[in-house]
Amino acid sequence: MTLPTLEGAKRDVATPILEVQGLTVEFGTRLGALRVVEDVSFTVAAGETVGLVGESGSGKSVSSLAVMGLISPRAGRVQADVLRFDGRDLLALDAKEQRAMRGSEMAMIFQEPMTSLNPVFTVGNQIEEAVRVHQRCSRKQARARAVEMLDRVGIADAHRRAKDYPHAFSGGMRQRAMIAMALINEPRLLIADEPTTALDVTIQAQILDLLRTLQRENGMSVVFVTHDLGVIAEIADKVVVMYAGQVVEHTGVEEIFGSPRHPYTEGLLSSMPQLARPGAPLVVIPGQVPNPDAWPVGCRFSPRCVYSEPQCDAAPVAITTVGESQTRCVRVSELTLPGSHWVALEEEAPAVPAAPVGKGSAAAPDALLDVTDLSKAFPIRSGLLRGVVGEVRAVDGVSFSIGKGETLGLVGESGSGKSTVARLVLRLVEPTAGCVMLDGAEVTALDAAGLRAVRSQMQIVFQDPYSSLDPRATIADTVGEPLEVHRGLRGGDRDAAVAELLERVGLSAELVRRYPHEFSGGQRQRIAIARALALEPSLLVLDEPVSSLDVSTQSQVINLLMELQAHFGLSYLFIAHDLSVVRHIADRIAVMYLGRIVEQGKSEEVYLRPTHPYTAALLSAIPVPSPQIGRRRERMVLEGDVPSPLDPPAGCRFHPRCAFAMDICAVRDPEPYVTETGTVVACHLHTEGPMLSGRPVTVLESKVGKQ
């Protein structure tokens, strides 16, 4: 059965499906009515994709919820000059009419696929419910539609999987199911609120592909809400940039990346690590996003704007329309902002240095940290007596080393075991096998006292700055704790040392008596870094230190880390899922997949000339913040999910998803192989494949589409 073509698809593109003008959303709080969205205007034409982009707190999600009518009148007040869907005034509809429209004519998918499905009903039940509430049809018919839709969104064995409960679905599959649910009534408008943010980058690529395909088939319009400019570049036709509850720029996607007109847009773009020269400081938007109760009277971006002038702060700034573009900036006419550096950067790829080819290790000559064959198996308990019935080999024979003052980037998707490696190195988790040497001391053989002593030499910074600081301890207590424990510093001595550390990471020393909740994410991460530095370690393990931060804050922290490294001669083990961030900061990169390192080499080499199909796919999946390049390139989208580490595939663990898999891959584990550029790769393509001693790199490059 083919879906009937929608009437809207045939319409004149100029007739907007969604018109939003002067949308304002207020929430009542103890501080009085708080406008979190003010004067937001944009239109969505039929078949068009509009990207709604902004950092957290910009009001982008609230705006989309307001359009869907999902803001309860008791919680917030939604006002608008115009809020029209397909010519109908949404604000004039009563609750029943609104409900009839939701899910049938406009639908929405959300950020959290893990929690957006009701855990106590089967997936099929929840999808067929969406049919039955809007259409008169039998349960059986609805079920058939649901199964068919699941099949269309790429759920294999849809008939059987429809009977599964959500917990049996992976994150990516759940998001597919959400999409199936949203699209089953063939809506004319889909609002996608950060639908891929919680997913791994390879899964994100799958979902974006799927959305694009379905959009093409159904001819629907999409409002795509995201914080990720790369995703915008890939998917949007028009872009609405929001900052502090307002639209600051509304224009076409090419214009945004080619010639941004608002300083904030420009700042966002230039702070992306993809757009910066590796190793160089990133462009930074100073300060932080203000809270809604503290929005400036004038231009809301003014306090952080390098182009700010006194006139910017005088009065609220109206939006200026120039041609198709709208910009909310006082100086819009006088400023000429630099555009994207993306293309230029790519051409500066460094020359390939020669390196020995063949089998061997990639140990740095003056290694500070030397990790050999590190493994960790977590027991699985099951059955009546909770006996050990198996194990998850989270980390399986990982070896690497880090030189003094060097940064090794460890990259992988969720489940790759990269965070376990971080904890194994510090012996926060006891390894099952393997050896960790730090500056000549065998960490894995130390007793408790020795371990405590060696901990002053290596420290860790965690991903989530919100949970890594004790909410009940002051900054002085947190940062000063290592000093108390190891040096016995107390009282004034300790506080003086803490103050010094805070200044070192760019925070005011006066903040020592404050509690973590008073700080923003970026500031908290600085505090965590200060704590890690307190004992003057030689090695810092950075476990995704910037991945939970907003783009503008992320660049601040990366700059700080690089500056500290230069100053103290620190070595970093930098763990991330984001290759572009790693490439920026790391000297060398190691790529992990299912507990193993599949590729390890100089970062520019790995980034520009991946030798492992997985690395290539990973790179290919990263959205490119340039609509021209991003949409032109041929992408290598990986099929399926990462297999369960409980039961990893035999042979090369990547082979079931590998486009180049050969027979041998399913049988034998590939040995590490050193390519001519010094990259160590574990892939049969290099030793057994048709490209034996050839240039597999080139093949992969062509697949990647030469970024």
Partner: protein, 311 residues
């Protein structure tokens, strides 16, 4: 029943949380204790509870000044008399002044509640902290013990212990405290299990912080707020439990009185006059209700993001 409701946060509850939930904007920066205080103070019901409990405590503390007679003095007036000018709440069957008894009973009932909660906490906090913090064997062992204690209906176990220990105020307090222990231990344990997974614990461990300091400095402070809420609610339960035990004669013993023993005394003459059953039950009701309101208010004030470990 009508279902034409808009399920969302109600108008008068639109506070920061609602705002944060709906917007994802994050919360407005405020000192957590100040926020708790502000929210609590703005919670009319909780404040009413606090005021009532404060008044009851004042009555208990200043009982000698308030009570018109010695509560143990018999025969101070006619027996089984209704309210009169001399005896505003009347007298009981041996001529005790009921107002004086009510006032002094506040002492016993409230102090039992406090003793119970303190005793139970003293036992349960270390157990809960160790069982949550130390993994499989110690934690599992304590949890096993608590599961076993949990299988006994609270009143049944408390009665058995109180009867076997011999009836007295302190024994009934011990009995009630014992039945409160598993609940607190489990609460603390679940909190600790959650806190233990927090990164800041790992962060401290990576620094080389040992277990005692970890529990003292990081685990305990982060488990305290649900415990405070629980403690307030337990105060209410303790008053109820004491009343039950005393009503059955297994609690406080004459000549001391608690609200529960006043009910027992009143019940013995229920077919003659129902009047003596009213004042003590109002006192019990007010006290339990107030502790519940305070507990609910604390939960709302402490709850959600303000002290959530993972803010």
């Amino acid at each position: 029943m009508s279902f034409e409701m808009e399920p969302a946060i109600a108008a008068d509850q639109i506070t920061d949380e609602a705002f944060a939930i709906e917007t994802g904007v994050g919360t407005i920066v405020e000192d957590p204790w100040r926020r708790v205080r502000r929210r609590f103070v703005h919670n009319k019901a909780a404040m009413a509870g606090l005021v009532i409990i404060t008044l009851l405590l004042l009555v208990a503390v200043f009982a000698p000044l308030i009570a018109p007679y010695d509560p143990t003095a018999t025969n101070v007036g006619p027996i089984n008399a209704g309210p009169s000018a001399q005896h505003p709440l009347g007298t009981d069957s041996i001529g005790h002044d009921l107002l004086s008894q009510l006032v002094y009973a506040a002492r016993a009932s409230l102090s039992v509640a406090f003793i119970v909660v303190i005793l139970a906490s003293l036992a349960a906090l270390p157990l809960g902290l160790t069982s949550g913090y130390f993994g499989r064997w110690i934690g599992g062992g304590i949890d096993w013990l608590m599961s076993a204690l949990f299988t006994f209906p609270p009143l049944t176990l408390a009665l058995a212990v109180a009867a076997l220990l011999g009836p007295s105020l302190i024994n009934s307090a011990i009995a009630v405290a014992i039945v409160f222990v598993p609940g607190i231990v489990r609460l603390i344990r679940s909190q600790v299990l959650a806190v233990r997974e927090e990164t800041f614990i790992e962060a401290s461990r990576s620094i080389g912080v040992g277990s005692p300091r970890m529990i003292r400095k990081h685990v305990f402070p982060n488990t305290i707020s649900p415990f405070i809420v629980q403690a307030a609610l337990l105060m209410g339960y303790a008053i109820g439990a004491e009343a039950g035990l005393s009503f059955l004669g297994l609690g406080i013993q004459p000549p001391k009185v608690s609200w529960g023993s006043m009910l027992q005394n009143g019940y013995s003459t229920i077919n003659e006059t129902q009047w003596p059953l009213i004042p003590p039950v109002i006192a019990i009701l007010l006290a339990i209700l107030s502790f519940n309101l305070i507990g609910d208010g604390l939960r709302d004030a402490l709850g959600r993001e303000s002290f959530r470990v993972n803010e």
